[in-house]
């Protein structure tokens, strides 16, 4: 029988701990597919975050650091400076990248560090069970904004791609989602471009992935992908914010 679809070699053949309908599984797979296609598994180092994806290394078959909360870009910097030929990427959630680790996130881009960040934005804190994220939408309920996020007290959600794209050190910046098969295909293209940007030594690359968290949004998986399209993508427009100049 002809094989038309198989597990990426860079993924361990195990079930994940993610909730039904969660976007992390899809995003892990996309990253693994890109690593396979670029044939870089043996020279890739991943840096896992604190948050739901801390166990990334249980699924991705590459050398891996587990970082402290928000510090993945600093660890990736240390590794990349020692081994410039390696492909080093961080995989971070919204708390990691847009709250506790904002300084590291901005400055890794400001330095034009030749690493890649996969930034998974699901507008909520998943692992600690549903508190407000820096990216929680106005009016969105969480366990720490029980009446919905009010800008007067809880401020406004942060658009990281738009901020990072202003920095000359950032070479590729894109926001994608995994809310539909079409968007998954787009997401993979962006992730591949981001890794290629690093391989070509062009600078820092960032892909923000809007992702669904049915458990903490208290929605069905179907409702949650609809919410990504109808609510999140309004505030966080999809698209490429910055692409390398040539080629």
């Amino acid at each position: 029988m002809e094989v038309v679809y198989e597990r990426p070699r860079s993924l361990f053949p195990v079930a994940t701990h993610y909730c039904p309908g969660c976007g992390h599984g899809i995003i892990h797979r996309l990253v693994a597919e890109v690593i396979d296609e670029l044939e870089i598994r043996e020279k890739t180092v991943a840096v896992a975050p604190v948050g739901c994806a801390v166990l990334l290394y249980n699924y991705l078959n590459v050398d891996c650091y587990e970082a402290a909360h928000g510090r993945a870009p600093a660890i990736a910097t240390g590794c990349k400076r020692v081994h410039p030929h390696l492909v080093v990427f961080t995989y971070q959630g919204d708390g990691d990248f847009a709250a506790i680790g904002t300084a590291e996130a901005i400055h890794v881009a400001a330095r034009g560090e030749k690493i890649t960040t996969i930034f998974v934005n699901n507008a909520i804190y998943g692992m600690t069970a549903g508190q407000m994220a820096p990216t929680t939408l106005i009016g969105q309920k969480s366990t720490t904004t029980p009446a919905g996020r009010k800008p007067e007290t809880a401020g406004f959600p942060v658009r990281m791609c738009e901020i990072v794209a202003t920095l000359p050190g950032a070479a590729y910046v894109a926001r994608v989602s995994v809310s539909s098969p079409k968007n998954v295909v787009q997401a993979k293209k962006a992730i591949k471009k981001a890794f290629e940007t690093q391989v070509r030594g062009l600078g820092y690359s960032l892909v923000e992935v809007l992702s669904q968290c049915p458990t903490n949004w208290h929605m069905t998986p179907f409702e949650s992908v609809k919410w990504v399209d109808e609510k999140m993508a309004l505030y966080y427009p999809l698209g490429e914010f910055k692409v390398p100049k040539e080629g």
Binding site: K43, E66, A103
Partner: protein, 353 residues
């Protein structure tokens, strides 16, 4: 062999690190240790190394984490408030068993404190500092030359025990210029780094992590680190015994204070006062036995520190009530003069009749 060079302590430490094979330095400027950053930014590119000025001490310590995990000899440095910021990362580095060298040129605290010399970070340096059960190996030089020798040793100890090692100095030592020479670095035996992350080529992938959600598994990890450190406690106690044998009074002091105490001792000896100095060089592991011996032989003890009483607690622990432990200190960036120490010794003499 080597020529003598006239250098400030900070620069001497930086050069010693490079000669010990350190090729990566990550740091954030803070007084009184900026000369380490500046020297590294000038010298590391000359030897094919990397200097990176981080966005914060927090980032600097995690860049150090990343480079250590990638197999490099790596150093960071700071002074008290910056070292406080690094404590999270230091705990992670200890937990992940990554070798690196951290320099703390202590200044007065707490808070922003001041920029003058202090020894008030003794607890933080020797008792863990960050969260969880761990210790740094802590070395406290008292001259620029000793800072050179101990910095070189620190890299070997870090590799030997896969543990962060701290050089604990103070603003005075960092700024004071002295002649130093650079001996060949020590060649300590340590096992090959079979755990570094450099891409899973022709081997199973590797993992550097500190999360163990299963309590019995984490307990095992804790015990493994403890057992490694107990080896260090057995093998790595370092101290200087200066005119202790015939002394009636023994001063306990480290770093800059110990050096000042030596001046006081010379003057007192000329006056016929039998006083000596027991100077811990390793603060962790601490020379408990040596202080116990002093107490058992009936000598009086006077601890002098630039803190409100931190190392003195370890001395009290060592002597276990067998002799009185007198204590004198200046804090807030004030350095005790040799005349003050002299006076304190004479007070102890008078009290003991």
């Amino acid at each position: 062999m080597t020529e003598k060079r006239f250098m400030a302590g900070n620069e001497a430490i930086a050069e010693a690190a490079i000669q010990a094979g350190c090729r990566f330095y990550f740091g954030y400027p803070i007084t009184p240790q900026n000369e380490i950053c500046e020297y590294m930014s000038m010298r590391l590119p000359e030897v094919g190394g990397t200097f990176l000025q981080a966005e914060s001490e927090v980032a600097a310590i995690y860049m150090t984490f990343g480079a250590a995990g990638a197999g490099a000899r790596v150093m960071t440095s700071s002074s008290s408030p910056g070292i406080s910021l690094m404590q999270e990362g230091i705990s992670y580095i200890a937990a992940a068993e990554l070798p690196c060298v951290i320099v703390n040129m202590m200044r007065g605290g707490p808070g922003l404190g001041g920029i003058h010399p202090s020894q008030a970070d003794y607890f933080q340096a020797t008792k863990g500092g960050g969260h969880g059960d761990y210790h740094l190996l802590v070395l406290a030089p008292h001259t620029a030359q000793e800072a050179v020798n101990l910095t070189m040793l620190a890299f070997d100890l870090a590799d030997k025990y896969r543990n962060p090692v701290m050089i604990l100095g103070d603003g005075n030592m960092g700024q004071m210029m002295e002649p130093v020479e650079f001996p060949p670095p020590p060649k300590t035996e340590f096992s090959k780094k079979g755990w570094i992350l450099d891409g899973a080529r022709n081997r199973p992938r590797r993992l550097i992590k500190t999360l163990y959600l299963d309590p019995p598994v984490l307990e095992k990890r804790n015990l493994a680190i403890a057992s490694k450190l107990s080896e260090a406690v057995k093998n790595e106690v370092r101290f200087e015994s200066f005119m202790v044998d015939d002394a009636d009074i023994v001063i306990g002091a480290y770093g800059t204070v110990a050096r000042i105490a030596k001046t006081a001792i010379k003057i007192l000896r000329e006056k016929g006062v039998k006083v000596g100095l027991l100077r811990p060089i390793s603060l962790f592991p601490f020379p408990y036995q040596q202080f116990a011996k002093v107490a058992e032989s009936g000598k009086k003890i006077l601890v002098v520190e630039m803190s409100l009483g931190q190392m003195v607690q370890d001395v009290q622990l060592a002597v276990c009530g067998k002799t009185k432990v007198n204590f004198y200190s200046r804090v807030g960036g004030v350095v005790p003069g040799y005349d003050e120490i002299l006076r304190e010794v004479e007070k102890v003499v008078k009290e003991s009749g």
